[in-house]
């Protein structure tokens, strides 16, 4: 009798990637906007920064002073990267946004590869393809080719647009450095996609790798050159683009590091894919608790369980951000000696000529919009639950609609407010500790809370839409988006004052630069209360999907 093994023909290696051309076309079709938007946005940052070079670092003694202050500031280095020659436009651009764009390219690569591989597999769409004339590695190969091509396109765009800044070799080095950083993370994404059955977990793993790389870079660049920690910069893939030193005597050999790592990671990804079953990960899914913890009870317990990860992430993010910018206040004061910058700061800082006050106003204006994103996100969950059909499971129990809506609404009002106060306190903390003025922490936290009614108005608008017209739930995001433009870049790019006033935060008192105005705070609070009440009434009365 013949056994089964003798009946099967010997497989050829090429059969595992058969059908890669149609798979590539499909992957491109599914994510063309994703890649197009990411690549164009990331590219645009580079020439825009280079064009604004002279307004930031003027061609005189003050400019040289400012460049020296920037290079000497540990926080600036930790956030941005190693400064090599800030008096050259190309090298300055690399310092100001190069490592930042490289890190974002890493995020783009990770998300792009996972969405074309593990996410397709998890939803079951890939099963149809696999059952056709398609090999085990076809989809991974297509996703890899697509990801690497888009990183290549980003590299070429950067190199071409920076080529006019001499020497052109610097432009090429910068483009390649950033593109290759993306390529490394195409590799990380491909490996992560093999490890777990869930696309979400794969994303967290790979984004975690980006986070660790960024953190290593920040620690290394923030430490003095003599410190042992400084050597860590060689370990971080998002630092290699800067270490290749575009425009400052290019060290081309550094670019071999990402090439080698990319190849190694891709080899590992394909190897792992051969060792796993379709739909499964290398790491098996861990079982969870068979019985719910006592806290997981009722709509409130469920809402907390669904949102706690998000709340923790935002809390940590806002804390790190606030401490980092808070440590910049002295540097800010020095930089304000440049009249052009002083004027920019004055406009961002609510018109205060005291640079410290202007700094806090500007930083709170940035923080409050970030926190508004968090607030709208928290309340939007109410609609996502309804959309996915899960809210009817809860509402078919002894949970009233009011109670159900409140379990998302109350956190959306309370947590962002607390986070805003935390942002104010931590922004003030570093300089208060250094100057021994602890009272300032409470003062800036209070200044932050004075902006909270603006958050409540946005949440109120969102609640009205939840209650009456959930189809229009994009509106709160438009309000937040406009506030972002107005508070983050509006004063710098010179938008008219009248337009900048058109946010829920503009009418509120901008402490400590302005006087406290209880009228504005109370009026906006009353508007928010009214909106919430109208919204809840609607939510109790409408048909639920």
């Amino acid at each position: 009798m013949t056994n089964a093994a003798e009946l099967t023909a010997r497989p050829s290696r090429a059969s595992t990637v058969v059908g890669v051309r149609p798979a590539l076309a499909l992957a491109l079709r599914n994510s063309r906007w994703f890649w197009l938007v990411w690549v164009l946005l990331l590219w645009a940052v580079i020439p825009t920064t280079a064009a604004a070079y002279r307004t930031t670092i003027p061609d005189d003694a003050a400019g040289a002073l400012e460049a020296a202050a920037l290079a000497g500031n540990a926080t600036m280095r930790a956030i941005l990267g190693p400064p090599y020659d800030l008096l050259h436009v190309g090298s300055f651009t690399m310092f100001r946004v190069g490592s930042f764009v490289a890190t974002l390219a890493a995020i783009m690569a990770v998300l792009g590869v996972i969405r074309a591989t593990r996410a397709e597999e998890e939803t079951g769409r890939a099963e149809l393809l696999r059952a056709g004339v398609s090999g085990r590695h076809t989809q991974l190969l297509a996703a890899t080719i697509l990801g690497l091509s888009c990183c290549g396109a980003l590299a070429l765009l950067i190199a071409a647009s920076m080529a006019p800044t001499s020497p052109a070799a610097g432009a090429l080095c910068m483009g390649l450095g950033i593109g290759l950083t993306g390529a490394v993370f195409v590799g990380f994404g491909a490996v992560a996609a093999q490890l777990t059955a869930s696309a979400r977990t794969a994303r967290s793993l790979a984004l975690g790798a980006v986070g660790v790389a960024y953190l290593l870079r920040a620690v290394a660049d923030g430490s003095p050159n003599a410190s042992a920690l400084h050597g860590l910069q060689w370990v971080s893939p998002v630092e290699w683009a800067a270490l290749a030193r575009p425009y400052v005597g290019e060290r081309w050999w550094v670019l071999l590091l990402p090439v080698v790592l990319t190849l190694a990671l891709l080899a590992a990804a394909f190897g792992l894919e051969s060792r796993r079953d379709y739909g499964a990960g290398i790491r098996p899914a861990r079982p969870g608790p068979a019985v719910a913890a006592p806290g997981l009870s009722g709509a409130g317990g469920l809402a907390w369980r669904l949102q706690r990860g998000n709340v923790t992430t935002w809390g940590i993010g806002v804390a790190i951000y606030s401490l980092a910018v808070g440590s910049l206040v002295d540097f800010f004061e020095t930089a304000a000696q440049n009249p052009a910058l002083a004027e920019r700061f004055r406009r961002m800082g609510g018109g205060s000529s005291d640079p410290r006050k202007a700094f806090y106003v500007a930083m709170l204006g940035i923080a409050v919009v970030g926190v508004a994103v968090f607030a709208v996100q928290l309340l939007d969950r109410l609609h996502r639950e309804e959309d996915s059909g899960r809210s009817s499971a809860m509402l078919a129990t002894a949970t009233s609609r009011l109670h159900y809506a409140a379990s998302y609404l109350i956190p959306a009002l309370v947590m962002p407010t607390a986070l805003l106060a935390l942002a104010g306190a931590l922004t003030a903390l570093p300089s208060s500790l250094a100057g021994g003025k602890i009272a300032q922490v409470a003062q800036i936290a209070g200044a932050a809370i004075a902006l909270a009614p603006g958050l409540w108005v946005i949440v109120g608008v969102a609640m009205v839409l939840h209650g009456w017209a959930p189809r229009l739930l994009i509106i709160p995001w438009i309000v937040v988006g406009w506030s972002m433009v107005a508070n983050w870049v509006g004063p710098v790019i010179g938008l008219p004052e009248a337009l900048l006033k058109f946010t829920p935060f503009a009418a509120l008192p901008h402490l400590p630069a302005e006087q406290m105005s209880f009228t504005a705070v109370l009026v906006e609070t009353a508007i928010a209360v009214g909106l919430v009440a109208v919204g809840l009434t609607g939510y109790r009365r409408r048909n639920l999907g």
């Binding site: 019985v291 369980r305 609609r401």
Partner: protein, 294 residues
């Protein structure tokens, strides 16, 4: 007999599409009541109105002696609901969902919970994202069946279950009926309704077109008869209540109204019958009769 659910003249439309068009429904306490209808006939809309998730445009609803729109939370303590397409929270385990929904309704009967998990063969430690459709359905069923409620609203509850699990479901529902629990089972699976339900309402385009006990409904339909005789077959075509009569040599087949049965048997007794097959009316025939008429 007291009434668990009564609706009168329910109307509900979504934009230009009419989902309920004057629905009357009567379900007595302790009944296992089948709500039959094909997809799009208004079964799910009816259940969502009964749950107070949708507000009827017109008509009256009484459920367990209350109004589901204005008294939903109080009434929901006394009922449990299983949707046909269960979506669960991907990051919670099945066990967590069972406890969460049970606690939100009232207390969870731990002993009954364990028993049902064992009977339905569910692994409660798996995250909901990894459950198949059938397993998600089991989670919702265990959750509903483990609670000590007066009324179960089940919307195609066995979709995705394998035949073994369907049988477990049937057993559990029968146990519940013995305890006096009222069940509304919306379904398009006729055999399931036939095995479980004592009462049936057939709905079509948002109206109830036929309602009653299964026995009553059977009475309304015809018995199929196939007879083989030696010699010439009897002259049945003269009798009232005979339909689709075909005679093929010595073989005769027809459909008979229930009222005509005695007369047919009398005339058959006068000839020499070699074999006789009589099939009782099935729910399927009943159902098709209403749906083929249009």
């Amino acid at each position: 007999m007291s009434v668990a659910i009564r609706t009168r003249g329910l109307r509900k439309s979504f934009g230009s599409s009419v989902a309920l068009d004057g629905l009357d429904l009567d379900i007595g306490t302790g009944e296992v009541h089948g709500l039959l209808g094909p997809n799009g006939s208004g079964k799910s809309t009816t259940i969502r109105v009964l749950l107070g998730l949708l507000h009827a445009d017109e008509g009256q609803v009484a459920l367990l002696g209350g109004d589901p729109w204005s008294q939903a939370p109080e009434l929901h303590r006394r009922l449990a609901y299983v949707p046909g397409d269960v979506s669960l929270w991907p990051n919670l385990t099945g066990g967590e969902v069972i406890d969460l929904l049970g606690r939100a309704r009232g207390a969870v009967d731990g002993h009954r919970r364990e028993e049902l998990i064992a009977r339905f063969d569910l692994d409660p430690t798996k995250k909901c994202r990894s459950y198949s459709k059938g397993n998600r359905q089991k989670v919702a069923l265990i959750c509903a069946l483990a609670s000590d409620v007066e009324l179960l609203l089940l919307d195609e509850p066995t979709s995705g279950l394998d035949p073994l699990m369907e049988r477990v479901f049937t057993e559990v529902i029968r146990d519940g009926r013995a305890n006096g629990r009222t069940v509304l089972l919306a379904s398009h699976i006729l055999s399931e309704v036939e095995t479980l339900c004592d009462h049936v309402s057939i709905i079509k385009a948002g109206r109830c077109v036929e309602a009653g006990t299964l026995t009553e409904l059977r009475h309304l339909t015809r018995t199929r008869l196939i007879v083989e005789v030696d010699g010439p077959p009897p002259a049945l075509h003269n009798l009232p209540g005979i339909h689709d009569l075909t005679i093929d040599g010595e073989r005769l087949s027809c459909q008979i109204d229930s009222a005509a049965l005695p007369a047919v048997l009398r005339s058959l007794s006068e000839v020499h019958v070699r074999s006789l097959v009589s099939a009782p009316p099935t729910l399927e025939e009943l159902f098709l009769r209403h749906y083929q008429r249009s």
